[in-house]
């Protein structure tokens, strides 16, 4: 994983526009959050291989980044994105890692199921 290059990510978002796409969307505090610190509220949610189609989308912000995808009947929004996988040309792999490298948020788009 590399630090996000917003120009290249925007190009991929444009390339995926208007097509049926499989998504992996996730956010997590980690299963041990409350075990380590009982003032923390552990939460996690993910969806894998749901399909969406957006009419336009963009990346915004300045490390960490936000992505918003406008769909016909709603929005997909993700905040806190720091990394992407530049070797993936057919899939958009975005993730947000905290200062210790732990995953906090993930947004992946692909024309094929994950």
């Amino acid at each position: 994983m590399q630090l996000i290059n917003p120009t290249k990510v925007q190009q991929m978002i444009n390339a995926f526009q208007g097509q049926d796409l499989y998504i992996h969307l996730e956010m997590t505090t980690g299963a041990y959050a409350a075990h380590v610190d009982n003032t923390k509220h552990p939460a996690a949610t993910f969806v894998t291989n749901a399909t969406i189609r957006y009419i336009h989308g963009s990346i915004a912000g300045n490390a960490p980044y936000r992505v918003g995808l406008k769909m016909l009947n709603g929005w997909l929004y993700s905040e806190g994105l720091t990394h992407w996988e530049e070797t993936e040309t057919e899939r958009l792999i975005l993730a947000g890692h905290d200062s210790q490298g732990k995953l906090v948020v993930a947004l992946h788009l692909s024309r094929r199921p994950f």
Binding site: H24, H35, R91, H97, Q100, G101, L103, H108, F114
Partner: protein, 225 residues
Amino acid sequence: MRDEGHSMERHILVILPHPDDEAFGVSGTLAKSISEGAQVTYACLTLGEMGRNMGFPPFANRITLPAIRKKELEESCRAIGIQDLRVMGFHDKTIEFEDQEQLDARIEGLLKEVDPSLVITFYPGYAVHPDHDACGAAVIRTIGRLPQAKRPPVHCLAFSKNCEEVLGKPDVVNDVKVFLKQKIASIQAHRSQFQAAELMGNGKTKEKELQERFGRERFWTYRFS
């Protein structure tokens, strides 16, 4: 308290949900038993594909993590000397939501095939992560259905904050100081999950500190009612 915990074991069946669950709590005990001639079958229910550690700086992502963690698991097993690894193909975070009949049937199949002299798993309700608790519950449920005379002993790992309060002191404490090399190698095999600095105290941790941190492994024998 039994300090020679697993000596003379014939075949140990370890059932845990995530690659790396074996590293901190069981690897020394297994290395010790293997050195004494035991066979070990390790059934790992998932590939830990939802783990949030991806290396530091991150080198894995949600897509590459399962294959990376499988390799790490295999390396950890080699370090310990485990002869038989079974990757069971369930999905991380979903054990408590799995079809119980299907899950129990897979565990029952393992018990029949392996005919273990000892089973090691998590203590249901005292193992913090929902997958740990659900894994332990499935093992206990399945073994509990066997006639009493056919039940292998089950040693459980527990580490919830209240575990000693409720369960009492662990009744099996294994001294694994002689097997720290295998244990550390098992932990280090999971390089996407544990960073060396975090583990070794920036490399300045003395041998004695390592022995104190990792030299004993604790289990609670499950009491079937």
